[in-house]
């Protein structure tokens, strides 16, 4: 029997979320709700200095005056911010020296996720800073990095141990009053990663952090700060999975990248949070602010593979402030069932001879809505700025939607901007061609989707490319005709 579209659909619908398990670890959770006392308590809990507490409070006070943005092309029930617990940390919080001391249940979780810490130590050469709910539990390869002068630790540790660096850079790219979710994050961020690469150092390994949302009803507010001093290079990986939960979980992260003169930061994300079940129930709300600042000759490259979350609202941006700086954005966003994604980028050209490239691939299936929203802005002083954007959408089935909202603003005659977008489906002739050569329909679709996304997948570091390819197949299996 031929494998029909219906078979595929059925298989997909019955496919349960692979990583949907729940780790039963006692957590130290704050009462629900948000007020100044909670903000103070979070800060105290983290043993933060006075200036940090004040900084959080300022952000909180400003947040109170703000309203949730509604311009995105997504529809969802707004979370009640007074109904969320803003802090949750695994209860036992010793500083481990070896893996044996780690809670076995936690290790079990990692195993299910496929991040065997020790295996990665040996094989991949990746330093993993695992964030379980909010507090960093294990940090590996710290020693190797320390020899080079690289600081890679949790943000709370950085606040305690390198306050001068954190104070200088935190909020410098995404001000604490930037937008509703950034302000919320600034007020209540629980943990996250901090990475500092000294002048002229090339980070010898890919830095990676796995985020997991674990405790029921806790929002996760990650804060990541990467600072690359002049002439340095770092590749940072971020990957995510979350257990299955009925309630919508809120995730409002802030990522700030600072690339000084001639530095290069490569930031890759694979996001595979729980997208809700096939009826659109549950799933993670992902409202993220990511922004990078490029000084002279610096380069920031964002690569993302977005397959999870019920609602995604995410625009990794580059401020090309210095002359000759380069911004890149490579994205694959896959939506299935009732997922909604409004994602894209902002390239703000301020310096001369700045260049940016945007490659965005949207794949929508089921009842999902997939939007690309991007801004390319070339300011009056940005002589010879150059941008190339390409947004391709692939539609599978006629219940889904693909949308493109590019904003192009040019105020300089020497600027050159090209934007092109296409929307298409997988052609019957393409499938037929594959079938004719003995490739079954499902494999053919995987093949075609893979080809469609190749430009972006190629940009991912080796470790991620494999995982991302697998993810694409899992999330799209059988949704096509």
């Amino acid at each position: 029997m031929a494998y029909t579209e219906d078979d595929l659909k059925k298989e997909l619908e019955t496919k349960e979320y692979e990583y949907g398990f729940y780790t039963d670890i006692e957590s130290d959770t704050f009462p629900v709700g948000l007020n100044e006392d909670i903000v103070r308590a979070i800060s105290k809990k983290k043993e933060e200095p006075e200036w940090m507490t004040e900084w959080r409070l300022e952000a909180y006070r400003h947040w109170e005056t703000m309203e949730e943005p509604e311009w995105a092309n997504v529809h969802y029930e707004k979370p009640n911010f007074q109904n969320i617990s803003y802090y949750s940390a695994p209860n036992k919080k010793p500083k481990y020296d070896s893996l044996d001391e780690v809670d076995p249940e936690l290790l079990d979780t990692f195993k299910k996720l496929g991040i065997s810490v020790d295996e990665q130590k040996k094989l991949a050469g990746v330093a993993v800073d695992v964030v379980m709910d909010s507090v960093s539990v294990t940090t590996t390869f710290k020693k190797t990095l320390a020899e080079k002068g690289i600081i890679f630790c949790s943000i709370s540790e950085a606040i305690r141990e390198h306050p001068e660096l954190v104070k200088k850079y935190i909020g410098s790219v995404v001000p604490k009053t930037d937008n509703f979710y950034a302000a919320l994050n600034s007020a209540v961020f629980s943990d996250g990663s901090f990475c500092y690469i000294p002048k002229g150092v090339r980070c010898p390994m890919e830095l990676s952090t796995y985020f997991r949302i674990n405790q029921a009803g806790t929002g996760q507010f990650e804060r990541t700060l990467v600072v690359a001093e002049p002439g340095s290079y770092v590749s940072y990986l971020e990957g995510c999975t979350a257990p299955m939960r009925d309630e919508n979980q809120l995730h409002a992260a802030v990522v700030e990248l600072v690339a000084m003169d001639d530095a290069e930061i490569k930031y890759s994300t694979v996001q595979n949070w729980f997208p809700g079940n096939k009826d659109g129930k549950g799933g993670v709300f992902n409202f993220v602010t990511k922004r990078g600042l490029c000084e002279k000759g610096a380069k920031i490259s964002w690569t993302q593979v977005e397959t999870g979350s019920a609602v995604t609202w995410k625009y990794p941006s580059c401020i090309l402030k210095g002359d000759n700086s380069i911004g890149e954005f490579y994205s694959i966003a896959v939506t299935n069932n009732y997922q909604q994604a409004d994602t894209g980028t902002k390239m703000v050209h301020l310096g001369k001879n700045t260049k940016s490239t945007i490659i965005s691939k949207g794949i929508s299936a089921g009842h999902s809505q997939n939007s690309y929203r991007g801004l390319v802005q070339i300011n009056g002083r940005a002589q010879n700025a150059r941008n190339f954007s390409q947004c391709d959408s692939l539609l599978m089935g006629n219940e889904c939607g693909a949308h493109t909202f590019p904003y192009i603003e040019v105020k300089n005659k020497s600027g050159q901007v090209e934007h092109e977008a296409t929307t298409s489906k997988i052609g019957e002739d393409q499938i037929f061609y594959c079938n004719q050569r003995g490739i079954d329909t499902e494999k053919a679709i995987a093949l075609i989707v893979n080809g469609f996304s190749k430009e972006v997948l190629n940009k991912l570091p080796m470790e991620f490319a494999v995982e991302a390819q697998k993810l694409l197949e899992i999330s799209l299996e059988g949704s096509v005709g």
């Binding site: 959408s393 539609l395 006629n398 693909a402 005659k413």
Partner: protein
């Protein structure tokens, strides 16, 4: 401050509505209802502000602060020789000439022979046209501040009805002159064009100010193209720098109809074109093309929408812009493809050349697609003239100024290629050549 001024115009309009309604003594009661509702809608909605997504890049503030006179009292006498140059006079046409919003009979030529080319005021008041008015008037223009304002003050405009299986034998010109004898003036023409099955017509529309007084035109045109109808519409916008235009055009197409709108924006202080196509049948073709060449502090905004509702339709958009000095160009093109509209082929292209660092272009080509078996693409470019091409021409003895003129002319030319009336093509060519400051050395 500005807000207060804006309120003033709005309040002035609302308060003068009563007087306007009293003056009207027509027989059509429905019209009273429509107008009364419209003024209420306008009161609630008001003028659009930059806070609205559609007006993000275009502020109407500067043109709303004028103290416009709303009802010009007397008919202003204009001689044919004064306006001849604004007409396409080389060919025989039907003409509808309005001066300050009032119909000028001695400059116009209308007809009721097979086709109706006449006035909105007579169509609204005569029983003969009541079925058409009832069916079509105010049925298409969506409710928003500007449309409602126009509806509330609907009085005059063009009424064109091409009956079934008829070819309009001559192109139709709709020309609105403003004399501005009473200082600044607000005019609101309202046009209704109904093209029945298997019919064909060509229409040329122009707004022209004859003095330096500020003029604001808020025009609404509704066009209905029935099955297999062909409508060719040309908008020539080459007004004085004191004149601003908000043009709202809505086109509804039935199966197998073909509509094209060409917009040439070469003048005016602020020009806003709202051009919406609604495809309510299969195998429809919608084409919209535009050339914008502006300088100084001019502002031209093209806001287009193509709504693909049924399968097997096509739409083509091609907008070219050349911006010099401190001018601002906006392109906001939206293509919506509904779930049922399979096999849609939608193409959108927006190319711009910036000649000055002070000039700005804001482009937002949007696609909203809900059907999977479609071919939709858009492209947008912003760039400069090719230095190598300029060098090539210069090396062959063509001065740089002419060379860049030639290149810009070539850039805009493929929009002109689809113009079907040779006289219009010639006229536009001349306007463009003049605008680019070159006398092109070949016969146009």
């Amino acid at each position: 401050m500005t807000k207060e001024l804006k309120m003033e115009l709005k309040e002035k309009l609302v308060s003068s509505f009563l007087a306007f309604e009293e003056e009207y003594t027509g027989a059509n009661d429905d019209l009273h209802k429509i107008r009364n509702q419209a003024i209420k809608d306008f009161e609630t909605m008001g003028f659009p502000s930059r806070k609205e997504e559609d007006y993000k890049y275009t502020s109407l503030k500067s043109i709303l602060k004028e103290d416009y006179s709303l009802f010009p009292k007397k008919e202003n006498a204009i001689e044919y020789k004064d306006i001849k140059k604004y007409l396409i006079h080389e060919i025989d046409t039907y003409d509808l000439v309005f001066i300050d919003g009032i119909y000028s009979s001695h400059l116009s030529s209308t007809t009721h022979d097979k086709i109706d080319v006449c006035l909105m005021s007579s169509a609204l008041n005569k029983d003969l046209y009541k079925p058409v008015i009832d069916n079509y008037f105010n049925k298409l223009a969506p409710k928003n501040g500007l449309n409602s304002l126009n509806t509330a003050f609907t009085k005059e405009g063009a009424f064109i009805h091409i009956h079934k299986n008829t070819l309009a034998d001559k192109p139709i010109q709709i020309i609105n002159f403003s004399t501005g004898n009473e200082s600044s003036i607000l005019v609101q023409p309202r046009n209704l064009i109904v093209v029945d099955e298997n019919s064909h017509c060509q229409i040329i529309e122009r707004h022209q100010s004859l003095t330096e007084h500020p003029v604001l035109t808020n025009s609404v045109t509704e066009i209905f193209a029935d099955k297999r109808a062909i409508v060719d519409y040309y908008k020539i916008q080459n007004d004085k720098l004191s004149a601003s235009l908000i043009d709202n055009t809505y086109i509804e197409q039935q199966s197998e109809s073909f509509c094209s709108v060409h917009t040439f924006s070469l003048g005016g202080k602020l020009t806003r074109n709202n051009l919406n196509f609604y495809q309510r049948g299969e195998r429809i073709d919608s084409t919209m093309k535009g050339v914008t060449i502006i300088e100084g502090k001019q502002h031209v905004d093209h806001n287009t929408l193509v709504h693909h509702i049924e399968p097997n339709c096509e739409s083509h958009q091609d907008y070219k812009g050349i911006f010099d000095e401190r001018s601002v160009g906006v392109f906001n093109g939206k293509v919506v493809v509904e779930k049922e509209a399979q096999k849609t082929n939608a193409y959108q292209s927006n190319n711009n050349v910036l000649l000055n660092d002070k000039a700005t272009i804001n482009s937002k080509p949007q696609l909203e697609i809900f059907a999977d078996d479609v071919k939709c693409s858009h492209g947008c470019t912003i760039g400069q003239l090719d230095e190598e091409a300029l060098f090539y021409l210069q090396s062959r003895g063509i001065p740089r100024k002419e060379a860049s003129g030639l290149l810009m002319y070539a850039f805009a030319n493929n929009v002109l290629e689809s113009v079907k009336i040779p006289e219009i093509k010639k006229r536009i060519n001349k306007l463009i050549a003049h605008k680019l400051g070159v006398e092109l050395g070949f016969n146009l």
